[in-house]
């Protein structure tokens, strides 16, 4: 069998051999693989195995010994690590109005190593200089950094600039500069209210880091955690399918809700600006505080600056002064100084001599220690001998025999020097410390000035009778405005010294409360009883004393003024005029501090600072819906005409109608009609209903019973129901005035805001 098959195959081979070699088939020849061949094949395999061993050895070298090195090199190649900027948290006022906000912006960078031609270089430099107004030299340097793969050109640019750049790239498509330029998301801080509360809020610098104010103090809270996208990029630098992407989400920074109330802050700033222009003071400071909690409702230093352009000197007069400096270096220095100066929150960072306002604490201490009572009298001759010199009252005026109820309104120096001396330096210092003048208040704002014993005030060992006497009327030491208002507020708060604060809540991205500031009582400084006496004393100061300019009709205002001489080389004959107080005196809610630094006109606390405080009290108390308690006399004088609110935007309408209760109806943006109409006479603090939509349904209410009431009662009833009253009849007579008639009958449905005429007469029997 085998042979036959072999023969067949052999026959074929024979055929081919015959065809090609013309030879016969050597069938019998031994064709088995020879031994030599076997040996050779094994030798060849051995060589092959050696080669393979070399390969394996080499692999061991690359993978095990040098593995880490190569792996790192590979990773550098593979990973594209993009930082996702975390949005900085928002800052809201107490009514959740946005004060500071981060919005997405863009960052432009280039990859200089990809720059190939001079044409590209020129296009890049020209483009950046033109679009972003950058310094040509700096840009050129970056473009020429051939070995670098990343050079940031500019950050925080808005969408418009970004689109401009994209258009530029498109216009120069042929040069392929698009592959060199990269645009990444970035964030930018916006302050929609501009200068609003600028010295509190502060601003952010490059890299979104807080530079001053709350932005600095709460930088860590506001700063989110930037995320990263680690993409395994491929060699074409393309994004890879999602599986290879690790995203660490950016965590938005926490938001701050401030105790600052936009409206109160607005009133405060408005009045301080006015005060600066009226008194030509160098600076004006103001703080509004919640007496019961220590929460700061408003805080300002004027002149301030626009948070959106912090590096611009805001004061025109300062700017002109700087421009006049000829020496370049000096000019730059002056500009820097001016900038640092305008960023200062002087209510926190600066100290001043408190002057007569401090008498409040001497009085409180004397009452508390029992050194005097409300009945203790002292006879002021206008001058007092202290050690070896005479200390006088203002203008050497002799105030005569007074209790504290007269001495305080008179701001009698001799009275309080005597009280201070009676207290003695130990007790004086004890109260000085107790009211918080030897420590920082601990407010959550940066750079609070820290009192230093022996420097900003005299401590017990260094205090002589002269120092004690001067200190008793507020000279020889310095305090910060925030210390002063905190201490004054304690008098209105039953003797409890609070820790002031600006941030009430910290919110996360979803609005969940992360933390909430609880009012913190530092200590009970004086008894509630003493505090009550002080409230009455302070009210008298505002009724007929040095602070009478702070009086607001219908309200009980308590306060004290001070005028102090500035001490120091630069302060020749310059004053600080200040006022500190709270209202309503019978139930204190807000404390106000006003100081004018170097006022040129109205340069005393009573003439300069008190009226500012008065206007602020008036606005804020109305805004806080604290009912005025007019005397009837006051009320009759309080009839005003309705302001014209048509055309006002809903944002500003309330500030335009200060002193009125404004009800906005509809969702429109501007006021279309109002009730009562403009210039119609109506009560101060009355209701004005404004409509912001065409064809809006008129608001109506039922007219209440308004007869048989006093003026104040009738007014309150009407306002509560949504109406205004117009007083008619006898309101000026003696006896009790009661209403007896109303123009619209009780129970009628009338349009809200309507002015109802109410007629009054005296209940006194007119005997004729």
């Amino acid at each position: 069998m085998m042979e036959s098959q072999d023969k067949i195959s052999c026959a074929l081979v024979v055929l081919f051999k015959k065809l090609i070699f013309q030879k016969g088939c050597d069938y019998k020849m031994n064709r088995k693989p020879t031994k030599a061949m076997k040996t050779r094949s094994l030798r060849a395999f051995l060589i092959f195995c050696v080669a393979l061993l070399v390969m394996i050895g080499n692999l061991f070298w690359i993978q095990i010994i040098k593995g880490e090195e190569f792996r790192l090199k590979a990773e550098r190649n593979q990973l594209s690590d993009t930082v996702i900027a975390a949005n900085r948290g928002t800052i809201y006022d107490s009514n959740m109005k946005v004060i500071a906000q981060s919005a997405s912006a863009w960052l432009v960078y280039i990859n200089p190593s990809k720059v190939e031609t001079d044409e590209q270089k020129k296009l890049l430099i020209d483009g950046f200089v033109k679009i972003f107004e950058l310094d040509e030299e700096t840009v050129t340097k970056k473009v020429n950094r051939k070995e670098s793969g990343y050079e940031k050109i500019i950050g925080q640019i808005d969408n418009k600039k970004k689109e401009e750049l994209q258009q530029y790239i498109k216009d120069n498509k042929d040069s392929k500069i698009g592959s060199i330029i990269g645009i990444d998301p970035d964030t930018k801080r916006y302050y929609p209210l501009g200068t609003f509360a600028s010295t509190i809020i502060g601003f952010t610098g490059s890299e979104d880091i807080g530079r001053s104010g709350l932005e600095l103090k709460y930088n860590d809270t506001l700063t989110g955690e930037s995320g990263r996208i680690i993409t395994a990029k491929n060699a074409r630098n393309g994004k890879m399918p999602n599986d290879y992407e690790t995203i660490y989400d950016a965590q938005q920074g926490y938001s701050l809700v401030l105790t600052i109330d936009e409206v109160i802050q607005y009133y405060l700033e408005q009045q301080l600006v006015q005060a600066v222009s009226e008194t030509q003071a160098k600076y004006a400071y103001g703080i509004v505080m919640d007496v019961k909690t220590g929460a700061i409702l408003g805080m300002s230093t004027m002149p301030d600056y626009d948070l959106n352009s912090p590096y611009k000197v805001s004061s025109n007069s300062v700017l002109e002064q700087i421009k006049e400096i000829e020496d370049e270096k000096e000019r730059q220095q002056a500009e820097t100084n001016a900038l640092y100066s305008q960023w200062r929150n002087r209510t926190i960072t600066d100290t001043y001599e408190p002057g007569s306002v401090f008498k409040l604490f001497v009085g409180a201490a004397a009452l508390e220690e029992g050194i005097m009572t409300v009945d203790t009298t002292y006879n002021c001759s206008g001058t007092i001998r202290v050690a070896n010199y005479n200390q006088n009252c203002f203008n050497h005026k002799a105030h005569g025999t007074q209790t504290v109820f007269e001495a305080m309104p008179n701001s009698c120096n001799t009275f309080f020097i005597t009280m201070g001396q009676k207290l003695g330096k130990e007790t004086f210092s004890k109260y000085f410390q107790a009211f918080g003048f030897t420590e920082t208040t601990g407010i959550d704002l940066p750079s609070e000035a820290k009192p230093v014993a022996g420097k900003t005030y005299y401590d017990v060992p260094n205090m002589g009778i002269a120092e004690l006497s001067s200190a008793s009327f507020g000279q020889t030491f310095q305090v910060t405005p925030i210390q002063m208002i905190t201490a004054v507020a304690s008098l209105g708060n039953g003797g409890k010294l609070m820790r002031p604060y600006v941030v009430s809540k910290v919110l996360d991205e979803e609005g969940n409360i992360i933390s909430e500031t609880e009012p913190f009582v530092k200590r009970q400084v004086i008894s509630e009883k003493t505090a009550d006496i002080m409230k009455d004393v302070m009210e008298q100061v505002c009724v007929w004393g040095t602070a009478k300019n702070a009086y607001v009709a219908g309200y009980h205002i308590a306060g004290k003024t001070g005028t102090s001489e500035k001490i120091g080389a630069n302060a020749k004959d310059e004053n600080v005029a200040s006022f500190a107080g709270f209202a309503p005196a019978n139930n204190p809610q807000i404390a106000v501090f006003i100081a004018l630094d170097e006022p040129q006109y109205y340069a005393t606390g009573g003439s300069g600072a008190a009226p500012v405080a008065g206007r602020i009290f008036e606005n804020i108390l109305a805004y806080l819906n604290i009912d005025p308690e007019y005397t009837d006399e006051e009320f009759a004088q309080a009839t005003v005409t309705a302001p014209n609110l048509i055309g006002e935007s809903t944002d500003t309408v309330k500030s335009k109608a200060t002193g009125f209760t404004v009800k906005i109806v509809g969702d429109g943006e501007t006021v279309i009609s109002q009730m009562p109409a403009s210039s119609q006479s109506m009560p101060k603090g009355g209701v004005i209903v404004v409509y912001t939509e065409e064809n809006a349904e008129k608001q109506t209410a039922t007219v209440p019973e308004l007869t048989g009431l006093t003026l104040t009662e009738a007014n309150r009833t009407a306002i509560n129901a949504g109406f205004n009253i117009k007083v008619a009849g006898n309101t000026q007579g003696s006896g009790k005035m009661l209403s007896y008639k109303q123009s619209v009958p009780t129970g009628t449905v009338a349009e809200t805001g309507y002015v109802i005429t109410v007629y009054f007469r005296s209940d006194e029997v007119i005997s004729d």
Binding site: Q5, F16, S41, A51, F60, A74, E75, N234, A235, Y244
Partner: protein
């Protein structure tokens, strides 16, 4: 038995073409393991490239899988043919190889501009050098068997020129057949290598030479040839390394870049550097199957010549070594099959084929690990290439066919 013999007798000639006996099981198992691992690794390494260049991440793998199936079928069919009939192919193979190798030089360089290695049949493309390789092995196996005596013995050459020399030198210069035949085979090998080199395929040409040398070695050409040849290779290598510009531009710069590891990292060195990054990233145990990062277009065409670097990255030192050992086992088993072959043709053919695989493996890994200059040699059974895989598997079929006859004889 009688009945069986009868049927065989009946079928006569056709029946005689079929190889009887069983295939060599270890060889088959090793082979199928390599093919399977090869397919898996091809999928893993190719899908990014495939996704970006073919639109579908599985396209390259699917194509290779289809060819693998075709190849395995072809392998079984070939293994059924009695290997004696491969002599016939050996004779036809030479003119066919020449024809294709010349033809490809005149076809457009559509697959890779500047490189005339592929014949593009639209449906498939293939490299004539792949066919030429097996063609060379076959014809050398045929000739070395047939002229065994002439090569090993001391028989004077019968060529006219040699006789004349003998005559004029009065018997002082006897030129033996062992000399002339090696010269003739050498010319044959060189002609193949030169044609491949003309395709701009230096590595293919070198591979061709290497195959020829191994065949001559196995065919028992005198040892001194190899001593002389080895010396020549060393000289040539030194000359080339010293003056790479002698070679065609692309080949020259690859040698330059192999010598200067820091040169042109984004150009010529890119591929090798990224290959090293991939291998290094693998460490001892690898990043895990499918976890290579370097395959994401860093290692250019990771499914082709550089697939081994992705294997190293994903399977680590352990996996890479295992694959190298698998190849070693395959080759050893192939040599065993050759040793047990019925005749020297079978032996030379089986050994030639497995050594061809071995040389390719060694050259490929050498390139990928930067031991050798970057040439274009694929890793058998792993690298992407359908026709190449089919031809390789068919060659394995030949080895299996030889194993059938030896098992039967035993």
């Amino acid at each position: 038995m009688a009945a069986k013999s009868n049927t065989k007798k009946k079928n006569g000639f056709i029946n005689s073409m079929f190889a009887k006996g069983s295939i060599d099981v270890p060889f088959f198992i090793i082979l199928m393991t390599i093919v399977t691992v090869g397919l898996i690794m091809l999928f893993s390494s190719s899908y990014t490239y495939s996704y970006y260049n073919r639109g579908s991440s599985t396209e390259i793998f699917t194509r290779q899988l289809i060819y693998a199936v075709i190849g395995i079928v072809a392998m079984f069919l070939v293994s059924r043919i009695r290997y004696e009939y491969f002599r016939l192919i050996a004779l036809i193979g030479v003119p066919v190889s020449y024809l294709l190798l010349v033809l490809v030089l005149f076809l457009p360089d559509s697959v890779q501009p500047g490189f005339y290695r592929w014949i593009d049949l639209k449906v498939i493309t293939f490299q004539p050098s792949e066919i030429a390789k097996i063609g060379l092995i076959l014809i050398l196996a045929f000739l070395l068997e047939k002229n065994h005596k002439a090569i090993t013995g001391k028989v004077p050459s019968e060529m006219t020129l040699c006789k004349k020399i003998d005559q004029y030198s009065k018997g002082r210069f006897v030129i033996y057949k062992s000399f002339t035949s090696v010269i003739i085979y050498g010319m044959l090998i060189l002609s193949f290598a030169v044609l491949v080199y003309l395709e701009n395929h230096l590595s293919g040409a070198l591979l061709m030479l290497a195959i020829g040398v191994v065949m001559l070695w196995l065919g028992e050409a005198k040892g001194r040839w190899f001593a002389i040849g080895g010396a020549l290779v060393v000289v040539a290598a030194i000359v080339l390394i010293a003056n790479p510009e002698i070679l065609k531009e692309y080949a020259g710069e690859r040698i330059t870049s192999w010598l200067d590891k820091d040169s042109d990292p984004l150009g010529v060195r890119w591929q090798t550097n990224n290959s090293l990054y991939a291998i290094g990233s693998g460490g001892f145990l690898g990043t895990g199957l499918g976890q290579s990062k370097q395959k994401h277009l860093f290692v250019s065409e990771p499914q082709n010549d550089f697939i081994f670097s992705i294997i190293c990255e994903e399977l680590g030192f352990v996996g890479a070594t295992a694959i190298i050992l698998l190849f070693a086992a395959l080759i050893y088993r192939g040599i065993k099959i050759g040793m047990n072959a019925k005749d020297r043709f079978g032996a030379l053919l089986a050994m030639g084929i497995v050594f061809q695989v071995g040389i390719q493996v060694a050259l490929n890994i050498g390139v990928v690990t930067d031991l050798l200059p970057n040439t274009g040699i694929s890793l058998p059974f792993f690298s992407y290439g359908g026709t190449s895989l089919v031809i390789l598997l068919a060659e394995m079929g030949m080895v299996l066919s030889i194993s059938r006859s030896s098992s039967r004889r035993e």
